[in-house]
Symmetry: C2
Subunit: 582 residues, 2 copies
Amino acid sequence: MTYAAPIHEMRFVLDAIADLPAIAGLPGYEEATPDLVSAILEEAGKLAGEVIAPLNHPGDREGSVFENGVVRTPDGFQEAYRQFVEGGWNALPFDTDFGGQGLPWCLATAVQEMWQAANLSFGLCPLLTAGAVELLQAHGNDRQKTDYLAKMISGEWTGTMNLTEPQAGSDVGALKTKAVPNGDHYLITGQKIFITWGEHDCADNIVHMVLARLPDAPEGTRGISLFLVPKFVVNEDGTLGPHNDLRCVSLEHKLGINASPTAVMSYGDSGGAVGYLVGAENQGMACMFTMMNNARLAVGLQGVAIAERAYQQARAYAFERVQSKAIDGGKESVKIIRHPDVRRMLATMKARTEAARALAYLAAAALDRAKREPDDAERAAAQARLDLLIPLTKAWCTDMGCEVASLGVQVHGGMGFIEETGAAQHFRDARILPIYEGTNGIQALDLLGRKLLRDKGAAMTQLILELRAGLPEDEGLRAPLAAAIATLDETTAWLLDKGAQDIKRGAAAATPYQSLTASVLGAWLLARSAVEAAKGDDKAFAAAKLKTARFYADNLLGEVAGLSEAVTRGAESTLAFEDNDF
Amino acid sequence: MTYAAPIHEMRFVLDAIADLPAIAGLPGYEEATPDLVSAILEEAGKLAGEVIAPLNHPGDREGSVFENGVVRTPDGFQEAYRQFVEGGWNALPFDTDFGGQGLPWCLATAVQEMWQAANLSFGLCPLLTAGAVELLQAHGNDRQKTDYLAKMISGEWTGTMNLTEPQAGSDVGALKTKAVPNGDHYLITGQKIFITWGEHDCADNIVHMVLARLPDAPEGTRGISLFLVPKFVVNEDGTLGPHNDLRCVSLEHKLGINASPTAVMSYGDSGGAVGYLVGAENQGMACMFTMMNNARLAVGLQGVAIAERAYQQARAYAFERVQSKAIDGGKESVKIIRHPDVRRMLATMKARTEAARALAYLAAAALDRAKREPDDAERAAAQARLDLLIPLTKAWCTDMGCEVASLGVQVHGGMGFIEETGAAQHFRDARILPIYEGTNGIQALDLLGRKLLRDKGAAMTQLILELRAGLPEDEGLRAPLAAAIATLDETTAWLLDKGAQDIKRGAAAATPYQSLTASVLGAWLLARSAVEAAKGDDKAFAAAKLKTARFYADNLLGEVAGLSEAVTRGAESTLAFEDNDF
C-alpha cells in the first residue's frame, strides 16, 4: 500500500508531451530550469511517498470526525499539512507578488498528481485552497489581497468553495443564500452543503468563497455575487479577530474520501456572517468561471492520480501473490502476473493511466501558454485548445480513474474486497471524481455547447488536423490511429450538423462523443510518447512506451466504433423513450 | 430506497424467453401451472418488498458483528429469515423426497432474483444453503439425507461452502485442511477463509460442506475429498447433540455486503471436528462441480438483481429530483429525467438489466431441460447449451451489475456519494460479484477451454446458428444484430484456430471474447423479447420492449467491434509485455 511517485514517467511526459522546455522559455517562467524541475520532483516525491501516502489508509478508517462543534482530522494530518506548508509546496504555481513561486502550471500539475495519488483526501485541501487563491488573484481588491492572499498562497490559511445548496447542485443559479450590505462589508445568511474541507483543524484560518444573492438581485445566475467569508475576521494589523458568525453543522457520511471533511456550513445563525464582496455585484458566476478551468483540470488529475495509486498496488500484488499453475504448463503454482488475463488487466490499467496523464499534462501546458504566450494570436489559440481539453480531461480522466481502480480490485481477487487490503479504498475514493466539479454529463454538455457548436467546430477541426499531421510511422499504430481519427472527424461532422439542428439530440449524444474524442486523443498521445521516447537513451523505457501504445491501439481504441454509433444512431434511440417506458 | 419486484417483466421473460409453459410440460414439473406461477411471484414479491428489502440499508450500516465468539446479524434479519422459512420459500426448487416443492429452476430463479434484489446480504444465506443441498441430493448417503437434507431444504438449518484457504483461493487444489478417519466419521482440522454465512444467529444448526485432504491423498485437485461438518452433531433421534469442534475466528471487514457474515472458520482446535465423507474419497472436486453450475448461475442472477435494485432507485430519483432548466428551453427547473443524458443513463441501465435477466433466465431454463428432458439427445443438447451459458451468465451479468450500480450513483449526482442515499451501497455490494464463485477471468478461461476448445466450437456454432435463424424483421434491429453475429462468428473462428495453437494467446483473449459473446446474446434476447411482446395484448409494454432493444442495438452493441479487435489483435499486444515493462 505504498506509493512511489513515478518521477521518470512524469518528467518524460512533462518534457515530451507538455514541452516544458519551451514553456520554461515563456516570460515569467524562466526559473523552471531542468535542474530545478528535477529537484522539485524529487523532493515532492519524498514528501508524498514518505509522509502523506502512509496516512491514506489509516485516514480512511479513522475519517474526519465532527464532535461538539469541532472537526478533527485523522491522526497525522495536522503534522503532514504543517510539513507541506513549511516546504513551500502550496505556493508553487502562484503569482510572485504575494509569495508565490510563479512556476509553470504543468510542473505544478506533476507535483499535484503526487499529493493526490498519495492521499486523495489530503490533496483536496490544497486543491480547494488553489481555487480560492485564483479567485482572489483575479478578482480580489488590494485590501483582500493584502489581508488574505499571502497566507493562502503559503497554505497557512486554507480556502473553500461554497456553491452548493440542498436545492441547488449542478444548477448553481437556484441558490438562495443572502448577502445584505452592512457598512464596509455584507452580512451573509444561508446554508451550504458539500463544502470540502469546510471546517478542520489543520490551519489557523479558513477562507470561504461563498456565492450569495444581494437583495433585489435578478433571478438565476445573473443575480449571484461572490463573497469572501473568513472563519476568523482579520484585524487591521493582520492578526486574527473574532470568530465569524458561521459554523459547521455536520459532516457527510460518504462512500469514500472519508478523511476529507465534507461539511454542511451554516452562515449567519446569529444575525449574519461578515463577508466581503469579491469582484463586482452580480458577477459571481463570471468570477467562478475564472477558477473553474483550473479546478476541473485538477479533478481530472485526481483521476490520473488514483489510477496510478491503484496500478502500483495491483502491480505489487500481481508480482507477489502465488496462485494456480501457468496455463501453458508447469507443476508449480506461479505468481499471478504469469496469468495472461492478469497481464491484460495490468496493461489496461497502465495504458489508460499513461494516456490520461499525457492528456492532463497537455491541458496544463495549454493553460501555461494561454497565460504567458507573448503573441496575442498564440495566446488565443492556446486558450481555445485549453477550453476544448478541459471537459475532456475532467471527464475522461475521472471515468478512467474509476475503471482502473475497479480493475485494481479485480486483480486482488477476494482480497480486493477486504478493506484491509487497501484496493477497495481506491475504488471508493475514485467514485466521487466523475461527480464533483461538474458531473461528467455536464462536462459533455460543455464540450458540445461551448466548445464545439459555439465556434462551429473550429477548435476541434484544428485539433483533428494536428492529430492527422502527427501520425506515427509505426504501422501497427498508424493504421488503427488513422481509422480512429477518421471516425472522430465523421462523428464531429455529424454532431455539428444534427446537434445544432436539434439540441436535445446533441445532448443525448454528448457523453459518448466526449468519450470517443478523449479515447482517440489518449491513443494518439501514447503513440506520440512512443515516438518521443525512441529518441532518448533509455531503450527499455522506449520499448515499454511502444508496447503500451500498441496495447492501447489494439485493445482499447476499438471502443471508438461503438461510441460513434452511440452518437449517430444512439441519440435518436435514447430520445425515443417516453417517460412511461422507463 | 424501496424495492418492488418487477413481476410483470419477470413473468414475461419466464414465458417468452425461458419458455416456462414448455418446461412445465416436462416430467416432474407439472405442478408449475400458470396460476401457481402467478401466485408464487405475487407472494414472493410481497415478502421481498415488504419484509426483506427494508432491512437492506439498516443492515449495511449495522453489519453482522462478531463479539465474544458469537455472530449477531443485524436487527430484523432473524425475524425475516423465520418468515422466509415458514413461507416454504427455501424449498421451491428441491426434490420432493425430502420436502422440496420440485418446481422448475427457472421459476425459482425469478423468485431468487427478488431475494437478491431486496437484500444481497440476506439472499446469500439461502444461496449458500442451496449449494449444500444440491451436494447432498447428488452425493449424500441415505443417513446424511435423513439427518440433514430435510432440515436444509426447509431452511431451518443453513449450509455453507468451505473451499478457500489463505494460500488457496482460485487454486482450490492447493488446500491443506486435513481429514483423518475415526470410526464412522473423520476428524477435520484446518482453517478456512471467506466462508459466507459461516456463523450466524438465524438458524439452529449450520451444515458446513468442507473440502479437505485425507492422509496420503494425492497432491492437487485429485486428492481432495468433501465432508459434511455440522455446527451441532445430530443425534440418532434427530435432535441436536454437542457443539462440534469448530468455531468462527473472526469476520472480515469488507467493501460491501456488510450484513452477510464472512467468516474465518477454524476446525479441530481441540483435536478435530466430526465430519462425514460425502461421495467417494478424493472425489471432492467432482462433487463440487455438480453444484458449481447452479451457484454460478445464482451469482450471475445477483448481478441482475442488484442492477434492478439500482435502476429502480435511480429511476425514482430522476422522476423526483428537480434541477436545472431543460436544454431546449423553458424558464423553470425541471425533473432531471427531462435531461437527455439522464435518460441515456437510465436507458442504459434498463437495457443492460433486461438483457442480462433474459440471459440468466434462459440459462436457468437450460438447466431445467438438462435435468428433465425425457429424450437423451435433447437432454444432452440442453446440457451443452447450459455449459456454454454458465460462464457467460456469471461473468457478464455481474460486470453489468457493477456498471449499472455505478450509473445509479451517477444519476444521483452528489447525493449518490452520500451513504444515506443508498445508491452507494448497491455500488459497494455489487463489486464482490465479478470476484466470488470463480472470478470473471476464470469464467473466461472456462468458456475458452472447456466450452469452446474442448468440443472444437460445436456448442458455440449451434448457438450462432440459432441466433442467425432468430433475427427479427424490424430493420432497425436486424442489420446491427446480423453484423454483430457475423463478428461473433469470425472472432470465434479466429479463437478456435489461434487459441488452440497457442493457449497463452487464447487466455489473453478470453475476457474480451466472453464480453463480446454475451453482448451479442444480450442484444439478440432483447430483440426476441420485442418480437414476443408484440404478440401480446399489452401494447405499451411491447412498445417499451422494442425501444429498449433498439437502444441496445444502437448504443451498446457497437462495443463488439472493439472487443473483437481486442481478441484478434489485442492478445498479441498483451503478451508482448515483459515483466519489466509494467
